[in-house]
Symmetry: C2
Subunit: 335 residues, 2 copies
């Protein structure tokens, strides 16, 4: 028997999630059944989109988490026993069975990971869903083209920091927004963006701050924040600008959502705003991984991680996503 | 010498335009110069987009009208004298020199009109810019595809009524919104839409009314109104819905613009919202006119006009656009 601790959803958050919404439980895993493998997770990811799944039906784009059951999410682990010929002990696998230390699953639910020299946890971040999100959002949804000026919000985050770097290595002018001096410094000094705007210093007048950073306007906006950010981006958008709507973290916990008042601009300026989820663009995965490996080999892509250790700290890591304190990808190290 | 009366912009409207913003003036036209023709307008159009040009710079998508000068806009007239070999007296021409009874212009600014059996004023409406707007907005911007459920706002208007009919003749379920019982009757009984919603009866709860009319949700939204209409359309949109943002007439005169609070839905449902102006899609003009003539010949397209007579009544016709009283295309008959 293997003992595993897991995090369950105890109650649905009202606004910003708190520790009281989560419960740490311990279970005993049986031996894996026919066709199953047993996996010990090494890493799990916490991502902002999970907040939506903690609500009931309303507005969520994946099915809601169930109360009293362990949460789900990306994880990388090691096979410790297998009853399926496709997997053997020691294999690294990627699964959606995060938020727990170990689990049994059908082999078909596990994707064998060939890390090719990257650390396994990179497949929860720069080489995983957040990385693919940056790649497809910028290149396909926003349809980046030569000469575009690119604005990225939450630019020091897991997705935003990769968007900035891809746009820079393709020769674009890039403006990033982030909260606090440390992130601004990271953007300008480490990621090489052309201008970084500390949105906390410009609440209520973000348009002016962004207009000063992008005096000619913007052609692409990679949206991670929503609210005033979206209004400001519309205000400074040039004709035929494309907005890739990846997330709106400022709105996930908002009791009263922000009302965007200037969508009229999208008509006259012929702006396209398009919501997307990376999972709808997995046809680009091979291109993404090929490009990413080349860029990493050339030293053109950097990434940061904010790591907490232990399943018992996973709720705090998740809650921390909404404090704006993390730099880069938030991860939980499990073993 | 030819005398012509014209409408000038006397002051910029603050909110809804009033008669005091306009001035009727009389001018004497010289003989047309070299390469010029003199045209007597028969018809001119008033369109909601002109409201934006009456503001100063801000937010307008074409250059602002100048104070003290005659307004511009679509017109159909007859050449009464020509100093250019491409035109001769009696030719019908389409121009942007509306809001005046007669004018001189370089022949290059006039497009000779081959009405092919349609009344000339149709080229300011169903066969003109509003018609092309409906066609490109529905077929290219919204990328209508088999099975789509289509929502159209201001559905009894010049653009909306054509959108409804094109969608219906292509076999789609169509829901239209309009203000007042007469328009609702027009939509259901004359245009054959599947459901018509009187938005005035449902202010503040438009989502519920539209959800009742489209219980399975919508795939395409043709946006002419903005504000609560846009919020409601987002609320009932299915995954991968496409919104063609053609106009937002509820917002043109709004002192305090409506704040759209649910754009978050666009992320998870992967909705595309795209502003457009027909003038960017003139490559579709030939297809549009070919299809339209065929549909008219088959009796599958109807249109209505709300006509006022005399240049002195053009401001009232324009102001009337924002009262919601007009059915179909608003036109001014000049001679």
């Amino acid at each position: 028997m293997t003992r595993s601790r897991e995090i369950r959803l105890l109650s649905r958050p009202d606004g910003r999630p708190t520790a009281a919404n989560f419960e740490l439980a311990e279970v005993e895993l049986p031996e894996p059944g026919p066709g199953e493998a047993q996996v010990r997770n090494r890493w799990m990811t916490v991502d902002p989109y999970m907040r939506g799944r903690m609500n009931g039906e309303e507005g969520s784009y994946v099915s809601p988490f169930h109360l009293g059951e362990p949460l789900m999410g990306g994880a990388v682990g090691e096979v410790i026993a297998s009853n399926d010929p496709s997997l053997q002990a020691g294999d690294l696998v990627r699964s959606d069975y995060g938020w727990r230390e170990a689990f049994n699953a059908q082999a078909g639910k596990l994707r064998k990971l060939d890390a090719q020299g990257l650390p396994p946890e990179a497949f929860l971040g720069v080489a995983g869903m957040p990385g693919l999100t940056a790649y497809v959002g910028l290149l396909r949804v926003a349809a980046l083209k030569p000469g575009d000026v690119v604005l990225v919000s939450a630019a020091a985050g897991a997705v935003g920091s990769l968007v900035c770097q891809i746009a820079k290595l393709k020769g674009h002018a890039v403006i990033g927004t982030a909260g606090g001096a440390e992130k601004v410094r990271y953007l300008t000094e480490e990621l090489g963006v052309d201008a970084a705007v500390d949105y906390r210093q410009h609440a209520g007048r973000l348009t002016q701050a962004l207009a000063a950073a992008a005096p000619e306007g913007i052609d692409v906006y990679f949206e991670n924040v929503g609210g005033e950010h979206l209004e400001a981006a519309l205000n400074i958008a040039r004709p035929f600008a494309r907005f890739a709507l990846c997330g709106m973290i400022s709105q996930y916990n908002a009791g009263e959502p922000y009302g965007v008042r200037n969508l009229m601009l999208a008509v006259g300026r012929q702006i396209r705003l398009q919501g997307f989820i990376a999972g709808s663009y997995t046809d680009m995965t091979a291109d993404f991984l090929r490009d990413l490996r080349a860029w990493i080999a050339e030293g053109r892509i950097k990434w940061r991680e904010t790591v907490v250790e232990g399943i018992e700290n996973a709720p705090a890591a998740f809650i921390g996503l909404f404090s704006g304190r993390n730099l880069g990808k938030a991860l939980v190290k499990l073993s």
